[in-house]
Symmetry: C2
Subunit: 578 residues, 2 copies
Amino acid sequence: MANKPSIPKGTRDFLPEQSLRREYIFDTARMAFQLYGYQPIETPAMENLDTLMGKYGEEGDRLIFKVLDSADKPNRTIQKEISPSNISPVYEEYISSIGADIAQRVGTLLQSQDENPSKQVVDNLRIQIEESKPDHIKDDLGVEIHKILLEYLFDSRPTEKANELDESLIQSYAGKPDALKMVTAYLGFSMQSTGLRRLFATAITAFSDRIGMLLSEKALRYDLTVPFARFVVQHQNDLSFPFKRYQIQPVWRADRPQRGRYREFYQCDVDVIGSDSLLNEAELICIISDVFNKLGLGDISIRLNNRKILSGIAESAGLSGYFQEMTVAIDKLDKIGVDGVKEEMLKRGLPEQGVKKVLDHLKRKGDPDTVLRMLQGAMTGVEEALRGIDEMKKVLKALPAEVKSKVEIDLTLARGLNYYTGAIIEVGHPEFPSSICGGGRYDDLTGIFGLSNMSGVGVSFGADRIYDLMEAKGLFPDSLKAASEVLFVNFGSEEAEACLRLAAELRANDFSAEVYPDEAKMKKQMKYADAKGFAYTVMMGSEELKNEQVQVKEMKSGDQFTVMQKDLCNFLIEKTRA
Amino acid sequence: MANKPSIPKGTRDFLPEQSLRREYIFDTARMAFQLYGYQPIETPAMENLDTLMGKYGEEGDRLIFKVLDSADKPNRTIQKEISPSNISPVYEEYISSIGADIAQRVGTLLQSQDENPSKQVVDNLRIQIEESKPDHIKDDLGVEIHKILLEYLFDSRPTEKANELDESLIQSYAGKPDALKMVTAYLGFSMQSTGLRRLFATAITAFSDRIGMLLSEKALRYDLTVPFARFVVQHQNDLSFPFKRYQIQPVWRADRPQRGRYREFYQCDVDVIGSDSLLNEAELICIISDVFNKLGLGDISIRLNNRKILSGIAESAGLSGYFQEMTVAIDKLDKIGVDGVKEEMLKRGLPEQGVKKVLDHLKRKGDPDTVLRMLQGAMTGVEEALRGIDEMKKVLKALPAEVKSKVEIDLTLARGLNYYTGAIIEVGHPEFPSSICGGGRYDDLTGIFGLSNMSGVGVSFGADRIYDLMEAKGLFPDSLKAASEVLFVNFGSEEAEACLRLAAELRANDFSAEVYPDEAKMKKQMKYADAKGFAYTVMMGSEELKNEQVQVKEMKSGDQFTVMQKDLCNFLIEKTRA
C-alpha cells in the first residue's frame, strides 16, 4: 500500500488522552444513572434491516448504513430446483413459455411508448399476464415459480421468494465477468433510441437497489431508541417493569460529514419504559442536572415543551390537519428564524391566519410558572393543550428548587421525531450552538414491534458535543493526562530485572509503573518520560544496584532523592497520598 | 410488524446482569493494563476496505462484513456532463456511435459462441475496438469518454472513472422501478437460447459484484490488530515509542454462528510496539497472570512457543521449504490429533522422514528449563532455533517465580497468523476447551502500511470465553447483581414527593435509590423490589409522612425498622458500611 493509510470520512481515531477523556464522560454519566437505579444493557451493532427501515422517516432510511451478507447465502430447495445449470426440462420449458409470453406483451408496450409506462398501464399488463397463465405445469413447484415470476416482475418490493430466485441465478453464474461485459455492451449500446437507453439505465438503478436489498439483510443501528424498543419487546418476559435502562454505545449515520457531525458517534441513552408516571420525567431532568453538575457544566439550561400543548395550539389556531407540517417547520426555528418558519408553513399550505396565531403563542417565554399560567388562560376549552399544561405542571412540581431553576419552557421545541407524544426535553449551554442532550415521552414506541401500552420516556446525552464543549472550557481533570506514575530507567539487563521486582511491588500498591524495555540512551528514555508525563522517574545504575538504593526524580519539581529500594513504595505513598 | 422481533444470527443482546458482568471483566483488564502503563485508544468500527482486505488470508477476506456506501455519491463534473437527461447532442452522438460499433462487433461474437468467449477472444476484440476509435469527437471530454467506455467494457476491475459513469447513470434514473421491471423482463426472457440466457444471468452476477464494489468502500473491522497497525502508521508523529496501548472494542466476522462463536464479539487487546526487548514479552505474561488472578482464574496455564524454534525444527528436519504448510498442519493438532497432523502433512507433500522428525521434536513437554536444555542439544548448529531458544530463556528469566510456575513450553503451538515472527503465547484453563487469551511477537506488521522496523508484541483476551468460563465457575461477585440498593415504595403523590427528597439525599451519599414511579398496588411494587434485588425498601405512608418517619425493611433478613426521616441516611450508612 503506497498511500498513507486513512479511515473512512466522518469516522475518527481516538488517541490515549482523548480516549481517557471520553471514558471520563461515560463513567460520570454511568455513575449518575446507576444512582437512580438504571441498569446497563447492550444491543448488537447490526440490527435486521426490517427492524430499522421505516422508523426514521424517508431521510433517515437513506442514512442507514447497510451491511452486505457476503457469507450468508441461503441454500434452499427451490434454488437448486430452478438453477439453470441443473434445471429439469419441464421447468425450463415452463419458464421459457411464460418468459416468451411476457416478453411479447412487454415488447409491444415498449414499442408504443418512448417514456416510462404509467402505473395503470403496468397494472393492466399484470392482470393480463396473470389471466393468461400457461396451464401445462400442474405441480406445486410450477405454481410457485409462476407466482415468483410475477412478483419478481411487478411487485414494487421484491418478496423473499423473488430474492431466492435471484440468488439462484447469481450463484449459478458467478465468476464469469468477461462474458458479462460483452452482454452489457450488447444490451446497453445496441439500444439506439434514447427512451430505450433510459429504460436500460433505470434497470441498472433498480438492480443496484434490488441487489443491495438482496445482499443486505442487516444494517448498523441508527440510534439506540429503536433497538431499545425492539429489545424490550423481544425480552419482555425477562424484564421487570417499569424497566430502567441506560445504554452507551456507538451509532452510525451516513450523513454528510461536517464539523461536529460524524458518521460514527456514541449515544448515551437513559430511558424508563412501562410507566406513564410524570415522576419519570422529573427524575430524568434531575439526572440531567446531576450529570452536567458533575462534569462542571452546571450552567446548562433545560428546555421543556409538551407535544400535547403543541397539538392544542395547532387545534386552537385551526391547524389540526397540519400538525405534522407545523412541527417540522417549527423544528427548524433555530436555523431559519421566525420569518423562515412562517414562510415554510405558508409554502406547505397552512392558512396564513392560523400560522400567525401559532407564532404568537410560540413567542411566550420566561419563568415556567408564568408561561404556563398565561398559556392556560389562552387555551381555555382546548382539552389537549390543558392536559399538556397539567403534565408540565406536575413535572415542575416534582423538581427540587435547584434543578427547577435551570428549567425554562420553550414552546418552539418540537423535535422532528414523530414518536414523541408528551414531554419534550432539550438541554443547551450558552457557549455551545446546538443541544447537548435531548429526549421525550413516547407512548407507543414498542407498538411497531407488537407490544402495545408501553409508555416510556428517555433522554440521550450527546457525548461528542459534550466532549467538544468540555475541551473548549478546559474542564477535563489533569489527572486524566498522567496515565503512568513511575518510570524505571533501564540501565541494562541486571538492573532492569531488579527494577521489574520493584515495579511489581509498586503495582501491588496501585501505582502504575513501567520499566523502560530497552537499554536505550538516557536522552531517549527521558524524552519518553516527558512525552508520557510520568510523575516520577527511578534510576538504578550498577552503583545503586550494589547499594540496594535508587535515585528518585520528582519530574514536576526536578527534586531528586536517594531512597533505599525497600523503602521506595512507602516513600512514594508518603509523597503522593499524604 | 407481525413477527416477533429478532436480531441477526450470531449477534447478541445483553441484559443488565450480563452487561454488568461484562463490564466487570473489562474493568479488571483495564485496571491491570493501566498499572503497567498501557493507554487506551479507540478506532472506528468501519475501516476502509483496502485497509482490511488481504490481511487475513483468503478465508478471512471472505468473512469481512462489507458496508454499503449508500449515501456516498460523489458529485463531479463529468457526471453532470454525461448525464443522459442533460447530455449535449455532440456526446449523445458520440456515445451512440461507439455504442453501435461495439454492439455490432460483440453481437457477431455472441452469435458465433454459445459459451463464454475466451480471454484471448475478448482481448482481440478490445484491440479492434480501440483501433477503430471514431474520430468525429476531438475535445478532451470526448477522449475521456472513449477511455471510460473501453475501461468499463473490458477491464476486469472497474476504474474510478468507470465508477463515475455508472454512478451518473444510476443517479439519473433513480426512482423508476416500474420501467425497470418491464425491461428486465424483456431483456431476460426474450432470449430464447440457453446460451444467451446464461450470459444474461452472468451479467446479473457481475453487476451484483460490481455494484457491491461500487457501493462498498468500507468494512467492519475483523480484529483489533490490523486497525492498530494502521493507527500506528497514521498517527506515528503523535505517539511516543515504545507505544503501549490497550483497546477494548467489538469486532465482526461473518463466520458461521455456532456455540461460543459469534459474529459480533469483543476483543481486549494489549500491545507494545516500537521495542524488540524481550522484557515486553515478560511484561505481557505478567499482565496475563495478574488479570486472571484478579478474575479468580489463577489456575490458568500459559503456553509458550517461538516461531524461530518452529522454523529451526523445520530446517533441521529438511522441511524449510514447507514451513507454511507445516505450521498450518500443526495448528490443527488440538482438533485432529497427532495422527491427523501427520496425515495432513503427508497429504500436503511433506517428505515422510522429515514429518517424523518434526513430530518427535514436538513431543517434548514439561518443565520449561528442562525442555529448553534438551531442545538446545538437539538443535546444535541450527542458528534460527538457537536464537528462538535464547529468546525464550530470556523471557523466562525475567518472570517472577509465581508467574513462571504457570508457564509451560508447548512446541505444538503454531497459531495460524503469518505475521508472528517470535514468541507465541496462548492461555488455557483446565475447565475450558479452547484458549482464552493469545498473541505473540510480530516484527513487521506496520510494514504493510508503509512503516518498517516497528517490532511489536501483544496479546488479546477473549472476553466472551472468559465470561462463559467465569459464569460456569460462579466467579462473578454477588455485588454485580444488586444494581440498586434502596426502593422507596410509592403511596401517593404527596408521600412520593417527600420520598424524592430523601432519595436525593441518599444518592448524594452514593446510595443508589429509586422511588417507584406509580402509585401501584403494594404487591406489584414488592414484586419489582424482589425482581431487581433491592437491599432495602423504605415505606412512608400518610402516618409516617405526618410523623416525619419511615419504615425501613431489610430485604435479606426481613427485619423492619422505624427510623426518623432525618436519620435515614445515617441509619443506612451504619447498616451497610460499618
